[in-house]
Amino acid sequence: MRRIFATGLLAVVGVLAMESTASAQEIQLTGPLAGAPAVRELRWHRNKRFEIAPAISFTLLDEYQRTIFAGARLQYHLTDWLGLGAWGAYGVVHLNTALTDEIDKVNKDRWDSSRDNDALTAVDRNASLLSVGYDFPQQLGKIQWVVAPQVTAVPFRGKLALFEKAFVDTDLYFFAGPAFIGVVEREDYSVADFGNPNKTVLENGKPVKSYPTASRVAIAPTFGAGLSFFPGSWSGIGLEYRALPFSWNNSGFDSQGGPPDENGPDSIVDEKDRQFRFNQMITISFSVFLPTDIKVSP
């Protein structure tokens, strides 16, 4: 169904594009207008200006924990349509999802002393012990910080009329670059570590501590698009979507590395348990452009 729809849409688009292509070749404009720019006296909000944009970002579609980042975007715009800079952010708030709360509740009930003699509970305890420790939220993977050098292109520039009263300069931009991501996730742990006095989380056969975590730096591509609204000559309000796809173990579970085809648990929590996630976030920012004086195109 999806293929049929996509094929149909592309066919319509293709036909229209080819039609316009053929017609456009016939046009040759001459006279005093030849060579004139499409827009005169365009306000250059970006051209040869620094941009400092404090920003707040909210992750999307998280399975176990949502993160709110506080950060900033620093850029220098070589032209009105091309900028170089970086975005950096630190995860200041981590909010558990309902699933995390449910897992934590069920797990703590499971290890309650009142259920020590229940045979089915014993099965659940054995099956889940390596994947979830005493305090589940503590073992969750976290994106702690991100630094992302990036190139920004601004191909579309225009204006927006609100309620036919207010007008604001607007542009649509795209960005891409590498991202350096500070990730906290469960450190390597195997069944054998339950017997290691320095690493065990058990006491009298029951989990009493959270599994230890470790930090690492992941490198991943980042890209996205955004809208900037310019209420004044030196300021802007931004709304941006960013993708940050990379593999990590955001749950801390032992879910990969074993049979069949390494898609089952292998009794070791390690890098094989990292799974590809298309991490996404929405960012709201307020930009200050320096110098504050704005230039205008010819």
Binding site: M1, R2, V12, L16, A17, G31, L33, E41, L160
Partner: protein
């Protein structure tokens, strides 16, 4: 303040030439936009680009002036054409006068004339590119789930709106989900790893009556070369969504049927016009309704007698438990076709 100025009367250009410019700008806009959508056609479209279709006019202090020869003209002067149907320009017209009476031949420097200040009347808002008033809008689209990490609910959909005014419309939309719901592998992985199940639901269809309001519109210059128009709208309404739980906890006995529930929806969207009746749309819509969830009670721990446990499991009243307010947030991407295709402006620009 923005000034979108379409005027060209003061430049002495023939209508035929203006029409060339109009056609060129529109075709460039369409070409540029479709460039992004149909990558396979990149090379062909690139060759077809013809630059610099513009008219010149007055610039108001501190304002951008966009040269858009795209809007239709009204009350144009008579058109002078040659036998071949081509336009006769200003200089050719002067040449004719000079041939008839050399003494009356005016001495006009086009370079100097073009530098003179002009004082045309400039409207804050020129004629809107694509009027919606008293037109139908047909929107076929594809929707993607934005907030359900457990089960995705992609769906084809269609909306039909009628614009009562240029900014307000009533309409209806319909989504079909059955057969396309996808249970994420992540659910099975979680159940296997921590022995915790999550109640899951799938959708069959949804339909709603909607009200649309278009508070914003604007236009963009793409790559400084072509201009396209777009608008932003908010939409909301009420309807129904047919859903059922996916059996997770007791597949031996439970079997659910689809049941419609009342659903309210609200969303925001944008339309990018390729021409005056064809546009691409992207929309974010939240359908909120009370979902009926599968009962997660641990029946093994509830009964000591097998007969009592079996009787409880067979009783349909025990298959579902709580009702929970659920938000199904969808991104809807599609096209928009306005009918009728053309119209006449009521007022001069």
């Amino acid at each position: 303040m923005a000034v979108f100025y379409n005027g060209s009367n003061n430049l002495g250009l023939s209508t035929a030439r203006r029409n060339d410019a109009e056609g060129l700008t529109m075709k460039q806009a369409r070409t540029g936009l479709l460039l992004g959508m149909a990558l396979l056609l990149v090379s062909a479209i690139g060759v077809a680009q013809v630059k610099k279709a513009t008219t010149a006019e007055e610039v108001a202090d501190g304002d951008d002036v966009e040269f858009d020869a795209d809007a239709p003209e009204e009350g144009e002067d008579d058109v002078e054409t040659d036998e071949g149907g081509g336009a006769v320009g200003f200089e050719e017209g002067l040449g004719d006068i000079c041939k008839v009476d050399p003494d009356a031949c005016p001495k006009i420097s086009m370079d100097e004339a073009s530098k003179q200040d002009l004082n045309p009347q400039i409207y804050a808002v020129q004629q809107i590119y694509a009027l919606r008033r008293e037109r139908f809008e047909l929107q076929p689209y594809w929707s993607f789930t934005m907030n359900d990490q457990f089960v995705s609910h992609p769906a084809p959909g269609v909306a039909l709106n009628y614009y009562i005014t240029n900014v307000m419309a009533i309409g209806a939309n319909f989504n079909w989900y059955q057969g396309l719901n996808t249970d994420s592998e992540f659910n099975a992985a979680t159940r296997r790893a921590v022995r915790v199940g999550v109640p899951l639901n799938e959708y069959q269809w949804s339909a709603a009556l909607n009200f649309t309001y278009v508070p914003m519109y604007g236009k963009f210059a793409g790559f400084g070369d072509f201009i396209f128009h777009w608008d932003g709208y908010v939409v909301g309404g009420v309807g129904a969504i047919s859903t059922r739980p996916i059996v997770v906890f007791d597949p031996r006995y439970r079997n659910f049927s689809f049941e419609p529930k009342i659903a309210f929806n609200a969303g925001i969207g944008a339309r990018i016009f390729f021409n005056r009746w064809f546009a691409a749309i992207i929309e974010l819509r939240d359908y909120a309704y009370l979902e009926e969830l599968e009962n997660t009670a641990n029946y093994d721990a509830m009964f000591s007698s097998d007969d009592a446990r079996t009787a409880w499991r067979q009783d349909e009243a025990n298959w579902t438990d709580e009702k929970k307010l659920t938000n199904n947030v969808q991104a809807q991407v599609g096209i928009s076709i306005f009918l009728p295709f053309s119209w006449e402006y009521r007022l001069p620009k």
